[in-house]
């Protein structure tokens, strides 16, 4: 089973990288971009019998830092 884990900064946590990307887009002349937040995508191939609890635990213990980040698990069919 393919699983995508999206790790993003929590609301209210300053994202200097997102801000720099936004600034660069402005510099390239792209208008109408209101905000940019950057994050991380982790693609995994796991056994089909890996349960939601295990995936959740992987995110909490390693893949995301719960102080500053949220995560979203997406199973790809």
């Amino acid at each position: 089973m393919k699983v995508n884990i999206f790790v993003t900064l929590k609301n209210g946590v300053l994202d200097p990288q997102g801000r720099a990307i936004h600034h660069a887009l402005d510099g390239l002349g792209f208008t109408g971009v209101n905000d940019v937040r950057s994050g991380r995508l982790i693609e995994m191939d796991v056994d089909d019998d890996i349960g939601d609890n295990a995936l959740d635990s992987m995110c909490r213990k390693l893949l995301a830092n719960m102080v500053i980040e949220n995560y979203r698990i997406e199973k790809v069919k």
Partner: protein, 225 residues
Amino acid sequence: MKSAVITFPGSNCDRDMADAIEKIAGKKPQRVWHGDSQLPDGLDFIAVPGGFSYGDYLRSGAMAARSPIMQAVVHAAERGIAILGVCNGFQILTESQLLPGALMRNAGIDFVCREVPLIVENDRSYFTEGYKKGERILVPVAHHDGNYFADNETLDRLEGEGRVAFRYAEHVNGSSRDIAGILNAKGNVLGMMPHPERHIEKLHGGEDGARLFRSVAQTLLEKTS
């Protein structure tokens, strides 16, 4: 004082750290490798040095915090052994949850590498007894991810309990409340972004960092004698 310096793949301040400890405490620290699962017996002091452990993969300090030796360091912290984490070492200590909060990319995006003035906020820990509260000292920083973040409740608790050890005297990296170094609740774990081991002798341009190691050596000596 019996001490150890931990080395991870990608650590690059471990030798400076070991050198500083030896010069000031007079005894060579033992060198411990990340894959070791046990620390040497009878340690009084453990230093987690700076660098780019595991290439900063995933997040700075994230991989190192899950290495075998860090389990032993967490147990050592619980037993009250003095632990200092500098720069990447600070990141590793927050990722290990020995210290609250997280260190994020500098607010200005740039790598910051210069001497910065710090204000000593706590002069009653193992590490800071040699300073005076409110004193201004000069210590070098060299980091990309030094922007300390914690929620307001955590920050208030740190301030209220006197656990902010050092504060930047000027804006350096966007850290919440200009925090440069914090202590754990028991006061035996200090994490800081500035590098005291880089200001040990006059030739370095300053000796304010030496006083931190002298504090550790003296307070631990008093404790064990």
